[in-house]
C-alpha cells in the first residue's frame, strides 16, 4: 500500500513537468507581449524592461529561468499588477476559491449521496421520480446559467442576499456561489449513487444481511453504503476538476476575487507568469486529487490490490 502511494506520487512529477513545459511554450508563442500597449513605450525603456524580465533572451533560456525559480517556489513577478509577485496574488485569491470549492464539494457530496440513497430505497415512488427529475434538471442547468438566475431571484426580486462581493467570506456572500457551483454535481452524484445503490441492494450479501434479521439502518450504513460508494468515488476526480473550472465563472460573475478572475485577466493581458502560476496550481491540485481518489479506491475496495 505504501509503495503504491509512493509510486503514485512519483508518477505525478513527470506529468507536472510536461504540464509546465506545454503551458509555458503555448503561452510564450502568443502574439503580443505583456508590455505592448496602446501608448507605445520609448524603445529604450521597453528594452530595459525586457532585459529585466529576460524577455529579450531566447524562449528556451526564459524557460530555464522560470524552472529555476519554480524549484525555489517562486512563481515570478506579475507582468500586470505592479509590485506584486504571483505568489502574493495567488496567496490572496486562492483561499477564496478554496473556500467556495470546499463548501460546494461538501454540499454536493452530502446532498447528492443523500438524495441518491433515498431515491434508491424508495425506487419508483414519487420521491424517486422527483429526485431524479431534479437530477436531470441539475445536469442541464450549467453554473453560468444558475449564477444569473440566483442573482435575479435572491438579490433583485427578493433582497435577501448581496449580489456579489466577498467580504471576508461571510456566509451571505457564500450562499449563491455555492448554489451555482454545486447544483450540477448534486445531480450527477445523486444519479450515480442511485444507480449503484439499487444494484447493491439487489446483491446476495444484502439478502444474507436481511435474512440475519439486521435492522434496516445497519444494512444500509454498514453493508450497502461502502460498495455503493465506489462509482461515486471515481466520479470525485472529475467533479473536483469541474468545481475548479466552475470557480472561474463564479469568480467572474459574483466578483468574489478568487483565482479564476486572475486567470482570465492574465490570459487576456498576456500576463505570462499569472497564467502559468494558476495553471500549475490547478494542475498540481488535479494530479493530487486524482492520486487521492486512486488511493481511496484502493482503501475502500478490498478487491483492488497493488
Amino acid at each position: 500500500m505504501l509503495t503504491f502511494i509512493a509510486k503514485r506520487i512519483l508518477e505525478a512529477i513527470p506529468t507536472l513537468l510536461i504540464l509546465i513545459t506545454v503551458s509555458f511554450f503555448l503561452m510564450h508563442s502568443a502574439p503580443g507581449s505583456p508590455f505592448s500597449s496602446e501608448r507605445a513605450l520609448p524603445p529604450e525603456v521597453l528594452a530595459n524592461i525586457n532585459a529585466k524580465y529576460h524577455l529579450d533572451e531566447p524562449v528556451i533560456n526564459q524557460y530555464f529561468y522560470y524552472l529555476g525559480g519554480l524549484l525555489q517556489g517562486d512563481l515570478g513577478p506579475s507582468f500586470r499588477y505592479k509590485d506584486f509577485t504571483i505568489n502574493e496574488l495567488i496567496g490572496q485569491s486562492f483561499p477564496v476559491s478554496a473556500e467556495i470549492g470546499i463548501w460546494s464539494f461538501l454540499v454536493a457530496l452530502i446532498i447528492g449521496v443523500g438524495c441518491g440513497i433515498i431515491a434508491a430505497l424508495r425506487q419508483n415512488s414519487w420521491l424517486d421520480y422527483s429526485v431524479m427529475g431534479f437530477a436531470n434538471l441539475g445536469i442541464v442547468l450549467p453554473n453560468f446559467v444558475l449564477a444569473p438566475l440566483c442573482i435575479l431571484f435572491f438579490s433583485i426580486y427578493n433582497q435577501w442576499l448581496p449580489p456579489g462581493g466577498w467580504n471576508g467570506g461571510a456566509w451571505p456572500y457564500l450562499v449563491m456561489p455555492v448554489i451555482a457551483m454545486s447544483t450540477s454535481y448534486i445531480a450527477q452524484i445523486a444519479r450515480i449513487t442511485r444507480g449503484s445503490m439499487i444494484e447493491t441492494m439487489h446483491s446476495n450479501f444484502i439478502r444474507t444481511a436481511r435474512a440475519k434479521g439486521l435492522p434496516k439502518y445497519r444494512i444500509i450504513f454498514q453493508h450497502a453504503l461502502r460498495p455503493a460508494m465506489l462509482p461515486v468515488i471515481s466520479y470525485l476526480g472529475p467533479a473536483f476538476v469541474g468545481i475548479v473550472t466552475g470557480s472561474v465563472i463564479v469568480d467572474v460573475y459574483f466578483g468574489t476575487g478568487g483565482i479564476g478572475q486572475h486567470f482570465i485577466n492574465g490570459a487576456l493581458n498576456r500576463d505570462y507568469s499569472m497564467v502559468m502560476g494558476v495553471t500549475i496550481l490547478v494542475g498540481t491540485l488535479t494530479i493530487l486529487f486524482n492520486a487521492i481518489v486512486d488511493i481511496l479506491y484502493a482503501v475502500i475496495d478490498p478487491k483492488i490490490r497493488y
Binding site: A12, P14, T15, I18, L19, V22, S23, L26, M27, S29, A30, P31, N136, L137, I139, V140, L141, P142, F144, V145, A147, P148, I151, L152, I156, V241, V244, T245, V248, I249, V252, Y253, F263, I264, A267, L268, R270, V275, V278, T279, V282, G283, T286, I287, N290
Partner: protein, 308 residues
C-alpha cells in the same frame, strides 16, 4: 437408405411454403426498443424542430442578425420588448438587434459546435482506443500512460489559453473542444476492443493476412459503433455547454455572430431591465440540453441493454 421420391418432393414443397424466419439484427432490435421509449422519441422530435427553426427561422423575420433597429434602440426597455407588431418576436438586445434572429443564429453556431466537436472527439477517440486495444502490449501501455497524463491536465484552462492565442476563430473552437474531449471515448472504445480482439472473425481476418490498420477499421470499429453512438449523443450537450462556457467568458465566437452562451452572457448583464434577453436563449439552451440527455439515455437503453 431408401427414400421414396414423393416423400422428398413433399419435403421440398413443405420447405417452399415455410416462411423463412428472419433474424433480427442488433440495430433492428435497438430501433424497436428506441421507438418504444416515448421520452427519447419526443426529445428527438423536439431537437429536429429546434434545428429546423434555427436553420429556417431567420428567413421569416425582416431583420438580420446584425441589423440594428434604430427606433427600438431609443428605448430598449419598452420598445425593445417582445412584440409581434414591429416583428421583434423575442424583443431586441441593448443594441437594438432582434433577439429572435440572434437566438436562431446562435443556435446554428451552438449546434454546429456541438456536433462538429463531437465528431472530432469521436474520430480521434475511437481510432486511438481501437488501435491501443487491438495492438496491445507495450504500445497499449504507452498509449494509456499518455492518456493518463493528458487526463490530469486542467483542460478548460488550456482551451482558454488556446482561445487567447489563436483568436476567436469558430473552427478553432471545434478543434480545441473536440481535441480535449476524446479521452473518455478512447478509454471506452479500448475496453470494448479488448473484448472483441479474441473473437473468431478477428482471428480469421488475421489468418487471411489482413493488415492491422484494416482490421481496426473494417472489423473492430464497426463493432464498437453502438457504444460510440451512445456516447456521442451524450457528448453533444457537453460540447454545447463547453462552447457556451467559453462564449460566456467572452472568448467564444466573434461579434456580430453569436452563440447561445454569448447571448446568455449579454442577457445576464441586462436582466434587471430586459429579462427577455436572457430568457429566450436560456430557454432554447436548456431545452436542447435536456433533449440531448434524454436522447442519449434512450439510445443507451436501446443499444446497450446490459448497462442500465
Amino acid at each position: 437408405m431408401i427414400t421414396s421420391k414423393d416423400k422428398i418432393q413433399a419435403v421440398e414443397q413443405f420447405a417452399e411454403k415455410v416462411v423463412e424466419v428472419e433474424g433480427r439484427s442488433l440495430w433492428q432490435d435497438a430501433r424497436r426498443r428506441f421507438f418504444s421509449n416515448h421520452a427519447a422519441v419526443s426529445s428527438l422530435i423536439i431537437l429536429l424542430l429546434i434545428t429546423a427553426i434555427a436553420l429556417l427561422g431567420p428567413l421569416f423575420s425582416q431583420w438580420n442578425y446584425d441589423d440594428i433597429d434604430w427606433e427600438a434602440l431609443s428605448d430598449i426597455s419598452t420598445l425593445g420588448r417582445p412584440n409581434i407588431e414591429n416583428s421583434h418576436y423575442f424583443g431586441t438586445d441593448t443594441l437594438g438587434r432582434d433577439i429572435f434572429v440572434r437566438t436562431m443564429q446562435g443556435g446554428q453556431i451552438s449546434l454546429l459546435v456541438g456536433i462538429m466537436g463531437s465528431i472530432v472527439a469521436i474520430v480521434i477517440g475511437t481510432l486511438y482506443g481501437a488501435a491501443s486495444g487491438y495492438i496491445g502490449g507495450r504500445v497499449d501501455s504507452v498509449m494509456m500512460r499518455f492518456l493518463e497524463i493528458l487526463n490530469s491536465f486542467p483542460f478548460m484552462f488550456f482551451v482558454i489559453i488556446l482561445m487567447t492565442l489563436f483568436g476567436r476563430h469558430i473552427f478553432l473552437i471545434f478543434v480545441a473542444i473536440g481535441a480535449i474531449s476524446w479521452l473518455d471515448m478512447a478509454r471506452i472504445v479500448r475496453g470494448q476492443t479488448l473484448s472483441l480482439k479474441n473473437k473468431e472473425y478477428i482471428e480469421a481476418a488475421y489468418a487471411c493476412g489482413v493488415s492491422t490498420p484494416k482490421i481496426i477499421l473494417r472489423h473492430i470499429v464497426p463493432n464498437v459503433l453502438g457504444i460510440v453512438v451512445v456516447y456521442a449523443t451524450l457528448l453533444v450537450p457537453n460540447m454545447i455547454l463547453l462552447e457556451s462556457f467559453i462564449s460566456f467568458l467572452g472568448l467564444g465566437v466573434q461579434e456580430p455572430m453569436t452563440s447561445w452562451g454569448a447571448l446568455i452572457s449579454e442577457g445576464a448583464q441586462n436582466m434587471e431591465i430586459a429579462i427577455w434577453q436572457l430568457a429566450w436563449p436560456l430557454g432554447f439552451l436548456v431545452v436542447t440540453l435536456f433533449c440531448f440527455n434524454f436522447l442519449g439515455d434512450g439510445l443507451r437503453d436501446a443499444l446497450d441493454p446490459k448497462d442500465r
